[in-house]
C-alpha cells in the first residue's frame, strides 16, 4: 500500500538535522573549508546530537537510525553545508558497515567511535571507472588464515588518518563483495598525497594504494560474512551521499530564489523573468523526483537485501547527482557576478556538487548531451 507519511522518527530526526544544519553547520561552512577540517567545536556539537554516529546502545552509541531517517539526516545536513555534512557522514559510514556486518569483536570496537569525538573513520569504496560495488577491482583474497587486499581506492575521506579504514572490494575467488577493517597504520596502505580538491576539503579526500596482508579476522563479518547483505549496505552508502547532494541542491535553489525576489533589473525583480525562475523551477521539480527515487530505492534495498539493485541504485545516484550539479550551477547563474564571488555561498555549492558528482559517476548512466 502506498503510504507517503514519514514516521515519527523520520520527522523528528529530519527536523533535528535541519536545525543543526541551520544553526551550526551552515555558519561554519567557510571555516571548515579554509581549515580543511571541520572545526572542533562544530564537530563536537554535531557528534553530541548522535545524528552522525549510528552505533547501537550496547556499544555506547545512541542507536542506529532507520534507513530513511539516515537519508533525511544526509539531506538536511547537506542543506547546511556539503563539506561538513560529508565529513560527518562518511565517518559514520564506517560505523554503519561495521555495526551491520561486523563480528562481535569488530562491533565492540565501535565503542571508541561512539564515545571519542576525536575519532575519524572512513570507508574506502570508490575506484572511478564507473564501477559499481559489485564490480570493484580491489581484490580481497582469503589465503588460509590471512587475507590479502590489493587495489587502488580514490575519493577516500580522511585518507591519511582514518582509523579504522574499511576497504570494500571483491573476492577474486567468488566475485562477491567483501570488506576488511584496517586499523590506522596498517602496513601496505599507501596514501597518495593530494594537494587539495575542488571542494569538500574538510573531508580530506585522497587516494589510497593497497597491498595489505592481514589476519583473516580483519574481514568484515569474518570469512563467512553474508556478501549480499554487505552489498546492500554499501549500496545504501551511495544513496546517502546522493541524498547529501540533494540537500545542497535544495539549499542552492532556495538561496537563489530568495535573491531573485530582491534583485531588480529592467524595472522588476529578476524572479519575475521566466529565464530566471524557470531553471529554479526545473531544479525544484527534479529535486522532488530525485529525493523520491532515493527513498524508493532505499526501501527496495532494505526490503530485499539479496536482490540485484545495481541498476536502480545506479540510476538514482546518477540522477540525484546530475540534478545537484545543475541546480547548484543555476544557483550561481541566478546571482550572476555576485554568485561568482565568495560573499555568497552559491559558488561553494557549485564546487561541492561537482565534486560529489565526480565520486560516483558512471558514463553508461548519463551520456554527455550536446543539448545546447
Amino acid at each position: 500500500m502506498i503510504d507517503l507519511e514519514p514516521d515519527e522518527e523520520q520527522v523528528e530526526i529530519a527536523a533535528l538535522a535541519r536545525s543543526i544544519a541551520d544553526e551550526l553547520v551552515a555558519p561554519s561552512a567557510r571555516d571548515a573549508e579554509y581549515a580543511a577540517a571541520v572545526p572542533d567545536d562544530v564537530w563536537l556539537k554535531v557528534f553530541e546530537t548522535g545524528l552522525v554516529m549510528p552505533v547501537a546502545e550496547e556499544h555506547g552509541g545512541g542507536g542506529v537510525p532507520g534507513p530513511l531517517a539516515l537519508l533525511a539526516i544526509a539531506e538536511n545536513l547537506g542543506h547546511g553545508d556539503p563539506g561538513i555534512a560529508s565529513a560527518a557522514l562518511w565517518h559514520a559510514h564506517a560505523a554503519l558497515l561495521v555495526g551491520a556486518h561486523g563480528t562481535a569483536e569488530q562491533r565492540s570496537a565501535l565503542t571508541r567511535l561512539a564515545t571519542d569525538p576525536g575519532a575519524r573513520s572512513a570507508v574506502a569504496l570508490y575506484e572511478g571507472f564507473g564501477r559499481g560495488p559489485a564490480e570493484l577491482a580491489t581484490s580481497v583474497a582469503v589465503e588460509g588464515d590471512q587475507v590479502r587486499v590489493r587495489g587502488r581506492k580514490v575519493g577516500v575521506p580522511f585518507a591519511a588518518s582514518a582509523d579504522p579504514l574499511v576497504v570494500v572490494g571483491t573476492d577474486p575467488a567468488t566475485g562477491a563483495v567483501r570488506a576488511v577493517v584496517l586499523p590506522h597504520g596498517t602496513a601496505g596502505v599507501t596514501v597518495v598525497a593530494n594537494p587539495g580538491s575542488l571542494a569538500l576539503d574538510a573531508t580530506q579526500l585522497g587516494a589510497v594504494d593497497l597491498d595489505v596482508t592481514v589476519p583473516v579476522s580483519a574481514l568484515l563479518g569474518g570469512p563467512d560474512a553474508d556478501p549480499a547483505g554487505l552489498l546492500a549496505t554499501v549500496q545504501r552508502l551511495r544513496l546517502l551521499t546522493a541524498s547529501t547532494a540533494v540537500g545542497t541542491a535544495l539549499r542552492a535553489v532556495e538561496y537563489a530564489g530568495q535573491y531573485a525576489t530582491g534583485r531588480i533589473a529592467f524595472g522588476r525583480p529578476i524572479a519575475s523573468y521566466q529565464g530566471v525562475s524557470f531553471p529554479l523551477a526545473e531544479a525544484m521539480m527534479r529535486i522532488e523526483a530525485a529525493r523520491a527515487e532515493l527513498v524508493d530505492v532505499t526501501n527496495a534495498v532494505v526490503a530485499d537485501p539479496g536482490g540485484d539493485h545495481g541498476t536502480a541504485v545506479g540510476q538514482a545516484v546518477s540522477y540525484a547527482l546530475a540534478v545537484a550539479v545543475q541546480a547548484t550551477r543555476d544557483g550561481v547563474q541566478t546571482l550572476g557576478g555576485h554568485g561568482f564571488i565568495k560573499d555568497h555561498p552559491v559558488e561553494l555549492w557549485y564546487r561541492s556538487a561537482a565534486t560529489l558528482s565526480a565520486l560516483d559517476f558512471d558514463p553508461l548512466r548519463d551520456p554527455f548531451q550536446a543539448r545546447l
Binding site: Y126, E127, G128, F129, G130, E135, A137, V154, G155, N194, P195, G196, S197, L198, A199, L205, A207, I264, A265, F266, Y273, G275, V276, V325, R329, V332, Q333, G336, G337, H338, G339, F340, I341, K342, D343, E347, Y350, R351, A354, T355, S357, A358, L359, F361, D362, P363, L364, P367, F368, Q369, A370, L372
Partner: protein
C-alpha cells in the same frame, strides 16, 4: 572557397603556434597564478618567449597580431581561443584593458588624441567601469552620478568587477548626469588614477575562478575631474559633441561577446585534450561498454565545441563585413560558455575523483569557466537578445 568555415592556412598556423606556446610556456604557471591571485611576477619574461607577435601593450615594438585575410574579428576568435588554451592568466597580461578602446569608440578627436593614441604608442593599462553592486545586466540602472560644479564634473558612486581598475592609469567610468533622462543621461568619463576621491576599496575580489584577473571594487567619493573628461562631449564647442556614448559602450561590448565565447572554448578544448590521453592510459580499467561510452562522450564534446566555433565565426564575419549582428553575437555568447562548463565538468567526471584534485587543472578551469556565461551579458540576457529577433520587444 565560398561558404566555408575553414580558416586560412596562415591563420591556422598562427593559432597553432600560439596554442602550443601558451601550453608549454604559460600553462606551467597556471596553478601559481590561481593561488597568488595574480599574474606570475616574471610574466614579461614568459611573454618574451613567444615565437610570434602577441600585440603586447607593454612592448608594442614586438609587433601587433598579424593581419590575416580571414578578417580582424575572425582573427580575434582564433587568438582568444588559442591563448586561453594554455590558461586564463595569459591574455589579460597582453593588453592594458579596454578603457582606451572606449575612448576610441566614444571620444572626440581631441580626446582620442589625448587618451587613446598614447596608449597605442607606449602601452599602458586602462579600465572600464560600468557594473555596480546594484546592477549588472540592466545597464540603464547606472546609479553613479556626475554633477557639474563649475569647471569640474564631480563623480560619486561605486563600481565593481572592474578588470584592472586598481592599477589602470585611468578608468572610463559610466555615470549619469541626469537620472531623469534614464539611459540617455548616462555618459562615460575618464577618471585618472590618483584623482582625489578615486578609491580602490578592494583591489581584487575573492572569486570562484579567474582569480589571476584583477577585478576591482572602486569607489568615487566627490571625485572631481575636468570638464573635458566627459567622452564625446566638446566643452568648448558643444556642436562638435558626438553623443553620450551609452549605446556605443554597449555596442562595443556586444562585439566582444564572441571573443568571450572563444575563451570558454579554449578552456573546454584544453580540458578535453588533457583528459583524453589520461583516459586512454586508463582504458584497461573500464569495461568495454563503459569505454565506448567514454569515447562517445569525448566525440560529442569535441563536436559541440566545433558548433560553438561555427556560431562564433557566423557572428564575427558580420563584424568584419561592417554589418555586425548583435543577435548572432548573442547566440555565440549564449552557446559556448554554458557548453564549455558542461564539457569541463564531464571531463572531471570521466576521470572521477582524480578529476577534482588540484594535481590537474581541470578543477581550476571548471571554476574559471563559470564567469564566461555571466560577464559581458549573462546567458539569460543573450537569449533575450536572440529572442527579440523573432518576437521583438515581447521577449523578456
Amino acid at each position: 572557397m565560398s561558404y566555408s568555415f575553414t580558416l586560412s592556412r596562415p591563420l591556422q598556423d598562427y593559432a597553432r603556434t600560439l596554442r602550443e606556446w601558451s601550453t608549454t610556456e604559460c600553462r606551467p604557471y597556471a596553478r601559481q597564478a590561481d593561488e597568488q591571485k595574480g599574474r606570475p611576477e616574471n610574466w614579461r619574461e614568459i611573454l618574451d618567449t613567444a615565437p610570434i607577435p602577441l600585440g603586447r601593450a607593454d612592448k608594442p615594438e614586438l609587433g601587433q597580431v598579424p593581419t590575416f585575410e580571414d578578417g580582424d574579428w575572425i582573427t580575434k576568435l582564433a587568438f582568444y581561443e588559442a591563448i586561453n588554451y594554455g590558461d586564463v592568466w595569459v591574455h589579460p597580461t597582453l593588453g592594458g584593458g579596454i578603457g582606451d578602446l572606449v575612448v576610441k569608440a566614444l571620444g572626440t578627436p581631441k580626446q582620442v588624441a589625448e587618451w587613446y593614441d598614447p596608449i597605442q604608442q607606449r602601452g599602458g593599462a586602462t579600465a572600464f567601469a560600468l557594473t555596480e553592486p546594484g546592477f549588472g545586466s540592466d545597464t540603464s540602472m547606472v546609479a553613479t552620478t556626475a554633477v557639474r560644479d563649475n569647471d569640474s564634473w564631480v563623480v560619486n558612486g561605486s563600481k565593481m568587477y572592474c578588470t584592472g581598475g586598481a592599477f589602470a592609469e585611468y578608468v572610463v567610468v559610466f555615470a549619469t548626469v541626469d537620472k531623469e533622462l534614464g539611459a540617455r543621461g548616462i555618459n562615460a568619463f575618464v577618471v585618472p588614477r590618483g584623482t582625489p576621491g578615486f578609491n580602490v576599496v578592494k583591489e581584487n575580489e575573492d572569486k570562484l575562478g579567474i582569480r589571476s584577473w584583477t577585478t576591482s571594487l572602486l569607489e568615487f567619493d566627490d571625485c572631481a575631474i575636468p570638464l573635458e573628461n566627459r567622452l564625446g562631449w566638446d566643452v568648448d564647442h558643444p556642436e562638435n559633441s558626438v553623443g553620450n556614448g551609452y549605446g556605443g559602450a554597449l555596442g562595443a561590448l556586444a562585439f566582444n561577446r564572441p571573443n568571450m565565447a572563444a575563451l570558454a572554448i579554449g578552456l573546454a578544448q584544453a580540458s578535453i585534450d588533457v583528459v583524453t590521453p589520461i583516459l586512454k592510459g586508463q582504458q584497461a580499467g573500464f569495461t568495454p561498454q563503459r569505454w565506448s561510452a567514454v569515447e562517445r562522450d569525448l566525440e560529442a564534446m569535441n563536436a559541440t565545441l566545433e558548433r560553438g566555433r561555427r556560431i562564433n565565426y557566423l557572428a564575427q564575419v558580420t563584424v568584419d563585413r561592417g554589418r555586425p549582428s548583435r543577435s548572432l553575437a548573442a547566440a555565440a555568447k549564449g552557446f559556448a560558455p554554458e557548453t564549455a562548463e558542461r564539457v569541463i565538468r564531464r571531463c572531471i567526471e570521466l576521470l572521477g575523483p582524480e578529476g577534482v584534485s588540484k594535481e590537474l587543472l581541470l578543477e581550476k578551469w571548471y571554476r574559471d569557466s563559470k564567469i564566461m556565461d555571466i560577464f559581458e551579458g549573462s546567458g539569460q540576457v543573450q537569449r533575450i537578445i536572440v529572442g527579440r529577433t523573432l518576437v521583438g520587444g515581447l521577449a523578456g
